[in-house]
Amino acid sequence: MPDGTQRPPDGARDAARGMRVDLQLIAGLVTPGARVLDIGCGDGALIGHLFRTQGCDARGIELDMALVTRAVAHGLPVMQGDADTDLVHYPDQAFDYVVLSRTLQAVERPLEVLRQMLRISGRAIVSFPNFGHWYLRAQLLLKGRMPMTNSWNRMWYETPNIHPCTIQDFFDLCVAEGYVVEQWLALDDEGHRAPWRRFPQLANLFGEQGLFVLRRG
């Protein structure tokens, strides 16, 4: 390797390759050089990507110790922690963005987590699987049982997703809490942007995930 060439740790490079499509969309919402906290960061794929391609000061919190160990062993600044209990320790406005991807439905106190996110950060980027998707509605209507899909794939008694909501529910929550929705998108099941931008009702029917950028009003 020639002098002066910086080489990312192998693991971190691997983590960015094949990053989930919805994470790529989230990365696109973050301005270069920003301070970012990714809550529920898994193996740290997003924060590795944000550091290397956008020069962000990106850090992560993850509940699962095995994933934390893997992330740190890949050179990523990740700590073991719990969104429900550990955000209180951060000072006000310590970050430009706090990301909570596909995790809101699994936390114990979603309202409090969102409040903490917007206390410690200027903007919150939140994605969640949409419980209003037509296929879930159809299963409930036709079978009369809790829906099973790729996102909702565990029995009701063992799912970690204890707080499911729909895209419209989430809009209502933002109004109730006084959050400004700066951007929102519906994603299809591949994580690609779905074309329902102008029609929340249609997005709520056909979007597999909702992705929101919020700030305090």
Binding site: R7, P9, V72
Partner: protein
């Protein structure tokens, strides 16, 4: 136990600072010696230096055969060419702590006022911060403005925290392992049992055992035995020894000795051949005194205000001497000031000792954290092409 000769005299690689050192207790050392070892090569901009801080009974011989015991360096599984702390890439420094007995100024080195005698029990009380100040003099002497990393476990971890708090600009990355921001009452209690064992030894002679050519070996060995129990987990002791007997397959109720007894006795007697009792007292005291929050108005996070150091804390699930809660306490203080923190609890049943042993997840964590920091620091993959 047989009467032992006083510790063998060995020439250690040492730098002397004739200006001495003013201590936290208010007293001054007129002359400060720091014994140290280095491994690897310092790069031209002095950007690849890693300082390793040793624990209570460790010393500067991290990654080479120990001159006194003939055993491998205490962290030779972690430090060396191609290892997680790679001496092909980094310039690794380790100094014997102030108050130690492997060449740095301490109870065994000459008394400032009576150069023909050692300090002995008269050695001033030292603190973890005093130890760090002594190391800083060495680091300055070596021409290093900023250490790439400071790494240590147990008491070494206390020094790492103190480094980041006292010289934040001089520490790019900090790795406090299996440690705490203060000793708990339980920690102090165990140390006190050890100290009392030394005091109770007839060869203690009020701390002036060297005058009699004696050494309080029995007391120091008991201190080591008690401490050694705290370094291991119940599972580790059970796995290693269970209730097995030495030289017998079943209890006779006559001269039975359990394996664990002879193991501890061996640990005790081996220890007194390489460690000075007054040093043991000085250093255990320094650990007990350590309270980083108290040094900063009672609020631990104030120790790290504005600190740009990247931290990686590591704890072990079965460590009950420095439990995960103690590391998490430090982690929470660091995030209160939005410091950059990685934190991993390694699953291990080996107790506090795990940080010295071959734990693959631990080693991967250290290697990965260092690689990530090197990337942020813009260090080349190999310092010497």
């Amino acid at each position: 136990m047989d009467q032992l000769e006083p510790l063998a005299e060995i020439a250690h690689q040492t730098i002397v600072f004739p200006e001495g050192l003013t201590l936290d207790c208010g007293r001054s050392l007129a002359r400060l010696a720091v014994a140290y070892r280095t491994y690897g090569t310092l790069d031209p901009v002095a950007g690849n230096a890693i300082l390793i801080c040793h624990a209570l009974t460790g010393d500067q011989y991290v990654a080479e055969t120990h001159p006194l015991t003939g055993r491998q360096g205490w962290w030779s599984s972690l430090v060396g060419p191609g290892l997680p702390i790679d001496t092909d890439r980094f310039f690794v420094i380790c100094a014997n702590v102030l108050g130690g007995c492997m060449g740095s100024t301490g109870p065994r080195t000459p008394h400032d006022d009576k150069p023909d005698e050692p300090w002995g029990h008269d050695f001033p009380p030292v603190t973890i911060r005093d130890m760090v100040r002594a190391q800083k003099k060495l680091v300055d002497h070596l021409g290093i403005r900023q250490l790439f990393a400071v790494i240590g476990g147990s008491m070494g971890g206390m020094q790492v925290l103190e480094w980041a708090a006292t010289y934040p600009e001089a520490v790019f990355a900090a790795v406090p392992i299996a440690t705490a921001a203060h000793h708990s009452a339980q920690n102090i209690a165990f140390n006190e049992v050890g100290r009392q064992a030394v005091f109770a030894d007839p060869d203690w002679h009020g701390g002036e055992y060297w005058r009699q050519g004696a050494t309080p070996a029995r007391g120091l060995a008991v201190a080591r035995m008690v401490a050694h129990i705290t370094y291991l987990s119940e599972q580790a002791l059970t796995r290693k020894f269970g209730r097995r007997l030495r030289d017998a397959s079943s209890l006779t109720l006559l001269d039975d000795r359990f394996e664990v007894e002879s193991y501890l006795q061996y640990q005790g007697s081996a220890f007194v051949r390489r460690f000075d009792a007054n040093s043991y007292l000085s250093i255990t005291r320094a650990m007990d005194f350590f309270d980083l929050a108290a040094e900063h108005g009672g609020e631990l996070s104030r120790a790290f205000v504005g600190c740009r150091t990247r931290f990686c804390l590591v704890s072990f699930t079965s460590d009950w001497l420095f439990p995960t809660a103690a590391s998490r306490n430090v982690v929470n203080a660091l995030i209160r000031v939005a410091a950059n923190v990685s934190f991993v609890e390694i699953v291990s049943d080996k107790g506090h000792d795990a940080f010295l042993l071959d734990e693959p997840d631990f080693h991967r964590t250290i290697a990965g954290f260092i690689a990530g920091c090197a990337e942020h620091r813009g260090l080349r993959a190999r310092a010497i092409a």
